[in-house]
């Protein structure tokens, strides 16, 4: 009966609150949609009301994992090499510097915290994944904050805004790739009947599988033009890819990203495929967010203690990375030294990374890492759109106060193209 009530709460209260309460708050306080679903998941999940029991979470895991794979595929589908070649190389350079500095600083800092503060001395197999996932989730930036600001406020010169959008796009791409490597470096499980594979072999396997699945899928659907049939095949390949990745303890995000990259560069149906993916992204993502909330162990006290440090170190690293990136480029009009203000939003990708980590690496650091990242994502989603707005307003790229453009309904999803 508790389960029934839980499901009814999802179906009714969730939508009501999402639609009325959060819509109004979002309009008034410039919030990014999504947090309400995480909180809803927490409330009805095993930690609070236990309406959504662990068994139900397990039963619905194909949908949940489909959400993770979906995000990977969607990002992959945006990586068209022909289009990338036309972009200013400075964007790649800025991303590389900013993202890698953030990753190294945050990952390194928390590696030390775990080593000295949380008795992780010498326990590399649990310490590295924990520090690594904190580093990669710090590295990624959600496009939602900048996209929301751009939607809500009238602007005229978009130099830095465009840079931000490109950098954020690459940032997430890099984040998923770097994160995918973790599963190869610290691989969980044993091989059966053959010698254990090395990290390089796991990397090769991930890439080869992704490319193979992408090519096979392309060959499978190349004459298909019915949108419903394409959607069926797409769901099939994402679920298949995610299943295989989970089975091998690799990252489904990474594998599906490669599938997406192959498809978008190979298939003449790329537009149809992308539209089919994008059209169904939101329902999947909302279910995903509810389950993220449900799987969150809110009793992981150490996780909360880490949050201020994580947010501050990430912020510092983003600023330092942005500043160094500014110093390193020649076209100064593309960037400003304090670009870090526009890079603080976390969101969909960070959540997908942490879920992926939680599903594969189960150890004494898992709950506190998940807790720390989730709280950070929520806080960043609450404040980052306002920070990004003020930052872009100071630069003169948008105009305040906001005219009511009626665009509030177009709430961006965490994988909105940049």
């Amino acid at each position: 009966m508790r389960g029934i009530i839980g499901l009814i709460i999802i179906a009714v209260v969730g939508y009501l609150s999402a639609h009325f309460l959060f819509e109004r708050l979002s309009r008034r306080f410039l919030l990014v949609s999504g947090i309400e679903y995480i909180l809803l998941g927490v409330i009805i999940g095993p930690q609070v009301l236990n309406f959504l029991t662990p068994e139900m979470v397990t039963q619905l895991s194909p949908i949940f994992s489909l959400g993770v794979g979906w995000i990977g595929l969607l990002f992959g589908m945006q990586v068209r090499f022909r289009r990338l070649r036309r972009l200013d190389p400075a964007y790649f350079w800025i991303t590389l510097i900013e993202a890698m500095i953030t990753f190294v600083i945050v990952g390194g800092f928390f590696g030390l915290v775990f080593w000295y503060g949380l008795d992780g001395r010498g326990q590399w197999s649990i310490l590295i994944p924990a520090a690594y996932v904190l580093g990669t989730t710090a590295m990624v930036t959600a496009p939602s904050a900048v996209a929301l600001v751009k939607l809500r406020f009238r602007g005229h010169r978009y130099h830095v805004t465009h840079t931000l959008q490109h950098v954020i796009g690459f940032n997430n791409l890099l984040g998923i790739i770097v994160f995918g490597l973790l599963f190869c470096f610290i691989h969980v499980g044993e091989t059966a009947g053959i010698r254990p594979l090395t990290a390089v072999e796991w990397i090769n396997l991930s890439v080869i599988l992704g490319i193979l699945l992408g090519i096979l899928f392309h060959l499978l659907v190349r004459r298909e033009h019915d949108e419903n049939e394409l959607l069926l095949a797409l769901i099939g390949i994402v679920v298949y890819g995610s299943g295989i990745a989970y089975y091998l303890r690799l990252s489904p995000l990474f594998l599906n990203l490669i599938v997406g990259i192959v498809l978008t560069n190979l298939s003449p149906l790329r537009r149809l495929l992308y539209e089919a993916l994008h059209a169904t992204e939101r329902p999947f993502f909302i279910i995903f967010l509810i389950f993220v909330g449900a799987m969150w162990n809110i009793n992981a006290v150490w996780g909360y203690l880490l949050v201020p440090a994580y947010i501050l170190v990430r912020m510092g690293a983003k600023f330092l990375g942005g500043y160094l990136a500014y110093l390193s480029i020649e076209k100064k009009r593309l960037l400003v030294p304090n670009v870090g203000w526009g890079l603080l939003s976390q969101g969909g990708v960070a959540l997908a990374l942490v879920v992926n980590y939680q599903q594969v690496y189960q150890n004494r650091f898992t709950d506190l890492v998940v807790c720390c990242i989730l709280v950070s994502v929520i806080i960043n989603e609450l404040v980052s759109p306002r920070l990004a707005r003020d930052f872009l307003a100071d630069l003169g790229e948008i105009t305040l106060p906001a005219p009511d453009t009626g665009l509030q309904q177009q709430r961006p999803t965490p994988t909105s193209p940049s």
């Binding site: 029934i4 999402a18 397990t58 096979l216 419903n228 099939g236 390949i237 295989i244």
Partner: protein, 441 residues
């Protein structure tokens, strides 16, 4: 051929990767996921393949289920099917909502006479024919006891189970072929209404069978229980329908999610209160369609998610076909299926002829009442549980006949819709022919 090679490669990958990873300790069952993904892709290919031969795609999905099921390549093993049960529930709910939503009150009022005549004759003729067939074929049924009363009880149970059809299959074929017209409407209305009546009639028959059977039985007054269940399901369906109307009218956001949440919540309620989930959702769909102006929105929302859902549903149904049992009972099952086909034709023909239906209804509507699936299986399960002595044998045979009807039924219904010119393809063809200029002298 290219697609089959690709599927073979994917299948090979699935198997080969087992050697690279040992053990699966997480809550998630990755094998189920990979299997589900493979089945979706295989069903996509099979559906396309069947469509090339003018056969319904859902037959392709069913065949995919059979091939991937536990008796052939065992990719859709019993464990995987169990993992996917939640998706099966979702599928059934969505299909039932669509079925209810497709029932138009105005059309029902207009065709009430015909609907009632056909249902009446169909139920009587099929029930009487199959019951008589079982009594006549007694030597072929070794599990029947010496007692003639028990034999009659068994025959009655066979008779009433044979009357049930599959609304899910009907709605899937209609959605796939985008059929519309008098045969489509008539088959859909009759399928939905008949299933409600069958559930009630089944309770009566079960009660009679209990009195007749000398074997020990389990359970109490079936009639009152079924009446309560049906009444409560109808009531709950109305509540869900009203909730949906209110949601669409006042909120109308994230419709697909709302529908999915509604189906999960409704199914959970149905399990808890032992209600008929399919009936409940049909009524909900019916309420939205006929007592609000939002029926089209509901149907369109469900159609957006319908294809993957149908695939899972029918692939699981296909995987449930017990091939060894089918082989063992092939003769008697074939006889029962043949008698059911004949009586279905007779019942429909008589009903529609007396109601004065147009010729296409008389000729083709019966082909829409062949498929059996969930409802019949549910009834057989109740018989199995109620009569522990002969019930399991009864269910085995019923499962075999359901399997045959599940394979024949969708193809027959598609042929019926094609021949009556009601599928989108046939309508377009007729339109094109009509637009072509007449040949010159």
């Amino acid at each position: 051929m290219r697609q089959i090679i690709i599927l073979a490669l994917l299948f090979f990958i699935t198997y080969a990767l087992q050697f690279l990873q040992w053990g699966s300790e997480s809550e998630l069952n990755p094998k189920s996921m990979a299997s589900l993904g493979f089945i979706l892709l295989a069903a996509y290919v099979a559906g396309g393949f069947f469509a090339r031969f003018k056969l319904p795609k859902i037959s392709g999905y069913i065949v995919t289920g059979i091939v991937c099921g536990p008796y052939v390549i065992n990719l859709l093993s019993k464990g995987v099917v169990s993992d996917l049960r939640v998706l099966d529930d979702l599928a059934l709910g969505l299909i039932a909502l669509t079925a209810g939503g497709e029932l138009k009150l105005t059309a029902l009022r207009r065709d009430l006479k015909s609907v009632l005549y056909i249902i009446g004759f169909l139920v009587i003729v099929v029930f009487a024919g199959v019951t008589a067939c079982v009594l006549a074929a007694r030597p072929l049924l070794p599990f029947l006891s010496e007692s003639p009363l028990t034999t009659i009880a068994v025959a009655l149970c066979f008779g009433i189970t044979a009357v049930a059809t599959s609304p899910a299959s009907t709605i899937a074929i209609i959605t796939e072929t985008r059929a519309s017209g008098i045969v489509t409407e008539r088959v859909l209305s009759i399928t939905v209404i008949k299933d409600v009546l069958v559930v009630i009639a089944f309770a009566f028959i079960l009660s009679i069978a209990k009195h007749l059977s000398l074997e020990p039985t389990i359970g109490q007054s079936a009639v009152t229980t079924v009446f309560t269940e049906v009444a409560a399901s109808l009531l709950m369906g109305v509540v869900l329908g009203v909730l949906t109307v209110l949601y669409i009218r006042y909120i109308n956001a994230e419709m697909l999610l709302f529908i999915i949440g509604l189906v999960f919540a409704g199914t959970a309620f149905a399990h808890w209160l032992e209600l008929e989930a399919i009936l409940m959702f049909m009524v909900a769909g019916f309420v939205v369609e006929n007592f609000s102006s939002h029926g089209q929105e509901l149907i369109e929302t469900i159609e957006r998610a319908s294809l993957p859902v149908y695939v899972v549903f029918f692939a699981i149904a296909g995987a449930g076909i017990n091939l060894p049992v089918l082989r063992q009972t092939l003769l008697i099952a074939s006889i029962l299926v043949a008698v059911r086909l004949l009586t279905t034709y007779l019942g429909t023909f008589l009903g529609s002829a007396l109601a004065g239906d147009p010729p296409q209804v008389r000729r083709y509507a019966w082909m829409g009442f062949i498929t059996q699936a969930g409802v019949s299986l549910g009834l057989a399960t109740i018989v199995e549980q109620t009569f522990p002595t002969w019930g399991p044998h009864f269910k085995t045979l019923i499962v075999a006949t359901i399997a045959m009807n599940l394979i024949i039924g969708p193809i027959a219904f598609k042929v019926a819709l094609d021949r009556s010119g009601e599928t989108e393809e046939m309508r377009e063809r007729t339109l094109t022919l009509a637009e072509q200029p007449a040949p010159g002298p």
